[in-house]
């Protein structure tokens, strides 16, 4: 009963309509609502199977090294420390340490390297800086890590980015192996569901916070707080019902879209074994934890502060996460990521390799969300009983911070 009412309240709101529009725009513009022209076929011999990133030391080492030398010569290092482009210029001591690294790798003395820095144009022809033959891949990687640390992380020499120096053509055998994995592990539908989640996760990591904040602010805006506080229903039931009505309101249209998207290819695999539950499994396993944490942050901070500050908090996390995510598009995962990426149709081996990290990440997000919801219930009950102390203190503290900020801005 209460659940139906809360769902209705959630759905009949401006933020929810905005969410549905965003969801449609995202899925249509990114071509994940209709996959009918992206059938995965058994590879034909002699065709072009595309390229892939692969850890081939022979390719990586010279390419990365020469890139490092160039950046060193100009003292301009490109980096994406938290996903944002940054042009790093090292100070003299750090530049010297960098020279040390290059010296280790090439055998050219530090002095020569630094001289070269002074007279860029002439020196370039004089000293040949090449990677020594006796450097092992392990040693090389250790040096690259040092270089990356000097630059401040996220440089071209980070462990993840080194792979960018090594694109190789997919062989016929590999193409067949990929196909077989998609057919056996993904049962085709899984591959499409994954790509759908990849894009939709971006929306679902941010929109629930708006919806949850609106739900929590609604009572106070309508001056209805006290009417509700004085009623019999427990804080536990009320908050939990509200929380899950946000989750359901977001998940239902998502699941429907996931099936619309997925079913667009079912016809192309007649006679093969498909996993018709894949859209459901993926939306719940992959997307729902993002929805849960986003909605929980929304409710928690709104009940705690009585302000929409959660939007700023979640917005910041989301913005950083999406930018960091750009470097993990191929499907690598980290424990604390918000929106897992896997920007490819297939790539099943990476998915399988990374599955444990992904699963741990999703469990962490869902668990953290539930803890926040419990905290929200406690705060709500305290407010309801007029036990203001802790909550009131935090509120005045935030208000004073906001005051200070607006003063300094003026």
């Amino acid at each position: 009963m209460l659940f139906g009412k809360e769902i209705r309240k959630t759905v009949l709101s401006f933020t929810f309509v905005a969410f549905i529009i965003a969801l449609l725009v995202m899925t249509i513009s990114q071509d994940v609502l209709n996959f009918s022209d992206e059938a995965i076929a058994f590879p034909k011999q002699g065709a072009d199977y595309g390229i892939q990133q692969k850890e081939v030391p022979k390719q990586i080492m010279p390419a990365a090294f020469s890139s490092l030398c160039e950046e060193f010569a100009a003292n301009e290092y490109i980096a994406y420390p938290i996903g944002f482009y940054k042009n790093v210029k090292l100070n003299d001591t750090d530049q010297e340490k960098m020279a040390d690294i290059i010296s280790t790798l090439s055998g050219v003395s530090v002095d020569d390297l630094l001289d070269k820095d002074d007279e860029v144009s002439e020196a370039k022809g004089d000293i040949e800086v090449t990677l020594s033959d006796d450097i092992s891949y392990e040693e090389f990687k250790a040096c690259m890590k040092q270089a990356d640390d000097l630059i401040g992380g996220g440089s071209n020499y980070s462990e993840n980015n080194l792979l960018n120096y090594s694109y190789v053509a997919v062989t016929y055998e590999e193409a067949i192996e990929n196909y077989n994995l998609i057919a056996s592990k993904d049962k085709f539908t899984g591959a499409y569901a994954r790509l759908f989640c990849d894009f939709v996760g971006i929306i679902l990591s941010i929109f629930p916070v708006f919806i949850a904040v609106a739900v929590c602010l609604k009572d106070r805006r309508a001056k209805m707080n006290e009417l509700i506080y004085a009623r019999k229903t427990s804080s536990f039931k009320l908050i939990l019902t509200r929380y899950f009505s946000v989750i359901i309101a977001v998940m239902l249209p998502t699941i429907i879209l996931a099936y619309i998207s997925n079913s667009s290819v079912w016809g192309q695999y007649s006679g093969m074994s498909l996993d018709y539950l894949a859209p459901l499994k993926y939306t719940i396993g992959w997307l729902m934890p993002s929805v849960m944490i986003s909605a929980a942050i929304g409710m928690f901070f709104t009940e705690l502060t009585g302000t929409p500050i959660a939007i700023a908090i979640q917005g910041l996390w989301w913005f950083i996460d999406i930018n960091v995510g750009v470097s993990k598009l191929r499907g690598v995962h980290t424990l604390f990521e918000l929106a897992p990426r896997h920007n490819a149709l297939g790539n099943t081996q990476i998915f399988l390799d990374e599955f444990n990290t992904l699963a741990a990440n999703r469990l962490i997000m869902a668990g953290a969300a539930l803890l926040l919801v419990i905290a929200t219930i406690i705060i709500y009950e305290q407010k309801r009983r007029g036990e203001l102390s802790g909550y009131e203190k935090i509120k005045t503290y935030i208000a004073s911070l906001a005051n200070r900020k607006s003063k300094s801005a003026a």
């Binding site: 001056k223 006290e226 009417l227 009623r231 229903t233 007029g386």
Partner: protein, 299 residues
């Protein structure tokens, strides 16, 4: 025990310094009970404490035998109409009632019947499909009473329900309260003496967090007997008289002014008059050294 509210040595502070209630002792029995006090007296604070929306610092309260700490049980038996409230503006009257009825834990069938009955009682049946935002102030207040009665409470607590209503609507509202006060405890707070006069048998006067008087209306009137006087004076003497007497009312005709004032002993040339509740209320405030200063506006 079963059907009364007992408040003993109740203290409530806001923050460390502001004492909103001090040593309040009250026993409230079935029927209408008036809580009279001016702005800031602590009426809302006391009422919120009774409906478990505020925590007391010390003292004890039991509502129909249930200690106030047992918020869950208290919430089952009280209905509350806050001083300043509204409902989701885009919901219709009946939807809002239904939502609050669910939160009161009333079953579907019972809820439907009960809501129909209540809306009839508060004369809102023909407006039941109106949006809450389209209601007038008076209608909203009547809806407020209806929602407070949803769980058929043993104790109904209404905080200044008549403020801002026109005289006709106010009378209708008082009658409504009298209607529902049978077999219930109804506590009505107000700073309008007329509300109490028209409805209550018992009342308490609250001032700066303390109870100045608690008892029946007729006892209150008795205490003011022989202490209210009237006199017709020259208009020019008014400024002087204002310092001398504790004037609680005046009206002028041409250059004569009729004044009504409080005094412990009869004064020469003044007629003793029958006290009303307002006089008695003023007398209590005056005796307490907090009599309001009439700033000399001529009625």
């Amino acid at each position: 025990m079963e059907n009364c509210i007992e408040i003993k040595e109740l203290n409530k502070f806001y923050g460390k310094k502001k004492q909103a209630l001090s040593n309040v002792n009250l026993t409230i029995e079935q029927g209408m009970f008036g809580l009279l006090g001016r702005n800031g007296a602590g009426k809302t604070t006391l009422m919120k404490t009774l409906v478990t929306l505020l925590k007391k610092q010390s003292g004890s309260i039991s509502v129909c035998g249930i200690p106030i700490e047992n918020a869950k049980e208290i919430r089952k038996i009280v209905g509350y109409l806050p001083q300043d409230f509204s409902m989701y503006p885009t919901m219709t009257v009946i939807e809002a009632m239904d939502y609050l009825g669910i939160l009161s834990g009333i079953g579907t069938k019972e809820r439907k019947e009960h809501i129909d009955l209540l809306l009839k009682k508060v004369n809102l049946t023909e407006h039941k499909n109106k949006k809450v935002k389209a209601l007038s102030g008076g209608m909203k207040r009547r809806l407020g009473i209806a929602q407070a009665l949803l769980n058929d409470p043993k104790v109904l607590i209404v905080d200044e329900p008549t403020a801002g209503l026109d005289p006709e609507e106010r009378i209708r509202f008082r009658n409504l309260l009298c209607d529902v006060s049978e077999e219930r405890i109804v506590i009505l707070s107000t700073h309008i003496v007329g509300d109490i006069e028209a409805t209550c048998e018992n009342l308490a006067i609250l001032n700066e967090g303390s109870i100045l008087y608690c008892g029946t209306v007729s006892d209150l009137l008795d205490t003011a007997k022989g202490k209210v006087f009237s006199k017709t004076v020259d208009k020019r003497d008014l400024p002087k008289l204002k310092k001398e007497y504790n004037i609680i009312g005046m009206h002028s005709q041409e250059n004569k002014t009729y004044i009504r004032f409080l005094a412990e002993v009869p004064s020469p040339g003044a007629e003793s008059c029958e006290p009303n509740i307002e006089d008695a209320y003023m007398l209590y405030l005056w005796n307490n050294g907090t009599a309001p200063i009439l700033s000399g506006g001529e009625a």
